[in-house]
């Protein structure tokens, strides 16, 4: 077959149009039917990027701010200043009690290889990050526990009081509370679609802090953790503060957005209002 200019044009146009149609078809499928879940996220869970002042980018994207509840043993440490402060820091990724060895085995990690490489470095890094399904809980038991800890371990120091106030008013209430390989199974366990969202994310192996021979895990990231704000909703987020750590709670721009998670578990903002 002789290749000529006409075939080049056809091939190129077909490739460009084909890829775009394929991508948009996927978007249409994701947003078709009833959403898999819909969460009402506030400025605490949807934060503007820190480089918002970048004049080179006119688009606006919001970051999904999620957390994990760290293991209780840290909070059980005899009260001293360092332990209290450590307990009160919001843990934005890391280990959690539910991500234990049996959970890691269920996710496909191999506990036996944790000891197979006799290096000085962590033996758990022998295995790499895996793609899994994560369960996000909004303003549920995990957040209540985090708030109770902040009150319980508030030693009265200026730093602790500030952290307690942050936990009550500013920190994200969205927690990763479970993981699995099958979205249907997870949805059966967490049926409330207005409080629990199932998303794709990554877990990497670690080792148990108390017992280095036991496999543990760390939730490292969500596959989609940034949401583009369409033009029609931009006005809701005008003036949103970047530096939440430094901005007093009273001066925060407050808003609430309905975030839907579709058939492919990809999110998008359906509505947004100022509070």
């Amino acid at each position: 077959m002789m290749w000529n200019r006409k075939r080049t044009v056809i091939a190129g146009v077909a490739l460009i149009m084909g890829v775009n149609i394929f991508a948009l078809a996927g978007v249409f499928f994701n947003r078709s039917g009833t959403a898999e879940s819909t969460l009402k996220l506030s400025e605490r869970e949807l934060t503007p990027p820190r480089w918002r002042d970048n004049k080179e980018d006119s688009g606006l994207s919001l970051k999904i701010s999620w957390r994990v509840l760290p293991p209780e043993p840290i909070a059980k440490t005899a009260p001293d200043k360092n332990a209290d402060d450590y307990t009160l820091y919001p843990s934005y990724s890391g280990e959690s009690d539910w991500l234990n060895e049996s959970k890691m085995i269920a996710l496909g990690f191999d506990p036996s290889s944790a000891n197979s490489r006799l290096d000085e470095r962590s033996s758990a890094t022998n295995q790499k990050t895996r793609d899994v399904m994560l369960v996000l809980q909004l303003n549920g038991s995990a957040y209540e526990t985090a708030l109770k800890r902040a009150i319980k371990y508030n030693s009265g120091s200026k730093e602790n009081v500030k952290m307690m106030i942050n936990e009550r008013d500013k920190n994200s209430r969205l927690f990763v509370i479970d993981a699995g390989l099958n979205a249907t199974t997870l949805r059966t366990a967490y049926p409330d679609r207005s409080q629990y969202a199932i998303v794709r994310g990554q877990i990497r192996p670690s080792w148990n802090a108390d017992n280095k021979k036991k496999l543990a895990g760390v939730v490292s990231k969500l596959n989609v953790d940034t949401l583009h704000v369409p033009l029609k909703l931009r006005h809701t987020f005008d003036g949103a503060s970047l530096i939440l750590d430094e901005a007093p709670a009273a001066k925060l721009v407050r808003y609430e957005a309905d975030v839907a998670f579709g058939q492919r578990l990809e999110p998008w903002i359906t509505a947004a209002t100022r509070k």
């Binding site: 006119s58 290889s113 290096d119 990050t129 596959n223 583009h228 033009l231 492919r264």
Partner: protein, 362 residues
């Protein structure tokens, strides 16, 4: 010799100039003397050829033109890179003020328009410099198209995006005779295959670089592509396949030779490092031998470079902390000299073998 592209035309033009220079020398030395009719016939023939090459392929007719050509090539590449980057920033500057429909339409239109413009420029521009510039911009627009669609609709990042990028780059490369886009396409192919291999082993696709062995299958496959697909119509296209294949094979080996923990192999890290050091030395030596046998100059050059890098990193491991610095670099220099002697002997042996083969053939 049929002339299908600029490289062939330039080579023919260079041969004509070399022939003219040698003929003058032979006449000066009294070895050969053409009569007036013969000289006129040869000169007319060559001038006709050179004129047609200049018109069809915009070749360099003399050394000054060649030097300018090199400058034009560098300028073309830098200009193309700058324009490609400006396309990204231009879109980022304004896209936030467009509705979703306009954003998507702009992205698709930009990719289509730049692609069609590239083909139109290729028809008008025999030199190929402007077509190369336009092709890079078209590729940048297509990459931007897919990336921004992902961002606008919060699509999960996927290695599958590498496939259409590879296909587009290869289409432009073969249609416009552009080796730069061939390299871009091959890199996308390698990245996709490595990501897939990583996924099959259970890891997240974006982490494929954390297991250097993921690159091996693609590297081995690419090396043999020119053997199975005829590239005679595309002068200079077979070399990038081999060069990129060698780099994709031996650079990960070099990493593993110093970082055994990144391997899939269930062995002690030190064992893995020794294993890959041996494989690296043996592999590059084998590639040098293969390159000499099959007359692949680029294979020899790249393999020699990699062999020396393996050797020098090993010497660094052994002696950097043990020796004073002046002695360490002296040993490096002497090693380089030794290698030069070895390669010169190999080269002499190769020349002798070639001349012996020619004698037997004649």
């Amino acid at each position: 010799m049929s002339i299908n592209n600029r490289i062939d035309a330039q080579k023919r033009a260079d041969d004509i100039h070399i022939f003219s220079d040698e003929l003058q020398r032979l006449e000066r030395d009294g070895v050969l003397q053409l009569d007036q009719t013969q000289r006129l016939a040869v000169t007319t023939h060559h001038q006709t050829l050179l004129a047609s090459f200049a018109q069809s392929f915009d070749i360099d007719r003399d050394s000054q033109a060649k030097q300018l050509s090199l400058g034009m090539r560098i300028t073309s590449f830098l200009g193309a890179a700058a324009l490609a980057v400006s396309v990204f920033f231009l879109f980022y500057q304004f896209w936030g003020w467009f509705s979703t429909l306009v954003q998507v339409a702009t992205l698709i239109a930009a990719a289509l328009a730049t692609f069609l413009t590239t083909l139109w420029i290729q028809q008008k521009d025999s030199s190929g410099y402007f077509a190369k510039l336009a092709a890079l911009v078209a590729f940048a627009c297509f990459v931007l198209n897919i990336v921004m669609l992902g961002q606008i609709f919060n699509i999960t990042p996927s290695d599958k995006a590498l496939l259409p990028w590879a296909a587009f780059a290869l289409l432009l490369a073969y249609a416009l005779d552009l080796r730069l886009l061939l390299v871009a396409g091959l890199l996308c192919v390698i990245a996709f295959v490595a990501a897939r291999v990583g996924t099959w082993s259970g890891m997240y696709w974006l982490d494929f670089g954390e297991r250097p062995e993921n690159f091996f299958p693609a590297a081995i496959a690419l090396f043999f592509v020119p053997r199975f697909i005829d590239h005679r119509r595309f002068a200079g296209f077979a070399s990038p396949y081999r060069i990129i294949a060698l780099l994709a094979l031996f650079l990960p080996m070099l990493v593993l030779a110093n970082w055994g923990a990144g391997s899939y192999l269930p062995l002690h890290s030190k064992t893995i490092e020794v294993l890959y050091q041996i494989l690296g030395f043996a592999g590059t030596a084998l590639a040098i031998w293969l390159g000499i046998r099959l007359h692949f100059a680029e294979v020899v050059n790249v393999s020699v470079t990699l062999f020396v890098i393996f050797l020098f990193t090993k010497m660094f491991d052994w002696w950097w902390t043990l020796m004073p610095k002046y002695l360490f670099f002296l040993v490096l220099g002497l090693t380089a000299l030794l290698l030069l002697f070895v390669f010169r002997r190999l080269r002499t042996a190769s020349i002798v073998q070639t001349e012996t083969s020619k004698d037997i053939a004649s």
